[in-house]
Point group: C2
Chain length 194, copies 2
DNA sequence: CACATCTTGCACCGATCGTTTCAAGATGTG
DNA sequence: CACATCTTGAAACGATCGGTGCAAGATGTG
């Protein structure tokens, strides 16, 4: 029945991340996590610790996977909110290509369920959102925006990102999401790119 | 111990709504609902039915209470996304004045927890969001916008509303929320008023 | 082969979940 | 007062929750 690990740890974490992403923390029961990952309870607990620890590792895994998309969109010659929005739409397209990827955004789902998280989970969600905001702000500064512009645009871009995540969760069509994204990209200040 | 009802039904519903609002559907346990309303289990079940029915009545109660704020903001001489944003900020101010009102927006919290809701709950959340969107669109049409403008602005206003709710849930300051709100009000098309 | 190490499946733990039942008590009507 | 009606508190239901214990089996090392 055993011997060496019979599963890929990183792939299991990816699937666990999807379970939290789809169901949120409280509704992501151990049964759903074992079913989603294919692991037994012993393997789950032995590898990742308890549910709270697995959730935090899923958050880290999420940031490692998706935040570089925004960084990449911002590192080009034309960093702008529209680039970030385009990055989000790319995630949406990835989701369409791979139906196992859930709707919306793990960070947004976690943020709206804030009171349901323990102290460590809340701290990590806050830290991740702050990191994303700082990443956006720094990229805009590097693109030549002044301090005030960069701060405001980073915040608004984050807001647009979150609104897209909510509307996607509520079942809005990709056309509607694209409409919101392009409109947000017309926010004054977006023209700081060259 | 009994006889006639020893509580106000509408006030109890308002408190139950706050519990769902703060905790979300799954984390709003019966114990938290009884504690939040001050009612016993028997009174809760006898008056409102099971948890799902109470949740749906809370959603209706929420729409009756807060959607008129948007309608009111839009019925003035200058209906615009900024007016809707102002309405949301007013809700925030009400929350500061009355600390028992939770963060964010019951509809947004419910939307992000979509998979955790039963069929009836999902249908009602969808219907309420569609209603709000239609309300915004109709007001913009009445203000003189053409069909395309009204549709796009209504959608974007809804998006801004949702992003404010998420950021508020994540603990962003009122200054940050105001920044997002005023920036969104600068979206082209907002000048259709007079 | 002998042995230590690690992994796995299964059963089980107490706690909490949503829900139901029921007797006791308070009220309105005759 | 007698009686039907309604409400309430408390106990209890089966189901599920997150988490643990343990024996059986597979592997690596000697």
């Amino acid at each position: 029945m055993a011997g060496r690990k019979q599963f890929d740890v990183d792939e299991a974490l990816r699937r666990a991340m999807h379970v939290f992403w789809r169901w949120g923390y409280s509704e992501a029961s151990i049964d759903r996590l074992t079913e989603g990952t294919g692991l037994g309870r012993s393997s789950l607990y032995g590898t990742f610790g308890d549910k709270s620890a697995l959730f935090r590792k899923s958050l880290q895994r999420y940031a490692q996977t998706y935040h570089p998309l925004y960084d990449q969109a911002l590192s080009g010659p034309h960093p702008s909110p529209s680039a970030v929005v385009a990055a989000y739409l790319q995630v949406t397209l990835n989701r369409i290509a791979d139906p196992t990827v859930p709707d919306g955004c793990l960070l947004t789902v976690s943020a709206t369920q804030f009171p349901a998280l323990d102290t460590e989970g809340q701290a990590m969600v806050r830290a991740m959102i702050d990191d994303l905001r700082a990443m956006l702000e720094q990229a805009l500064l590097a693109a030549g925006a002044d301090d005030q512009e960069a701060a405001e645009l980073a915040l608004c871009t984050l807001a647009t990102n979150k609104s897209l995540a909510v509307l996607s969760r509520a079942g809005f069509s990709s056309e509607d999401l694209a409409t919101v994204a392009t409109a947000a990209a017309r926010i004054p200040g977006d023209d700081i790119r060259e």
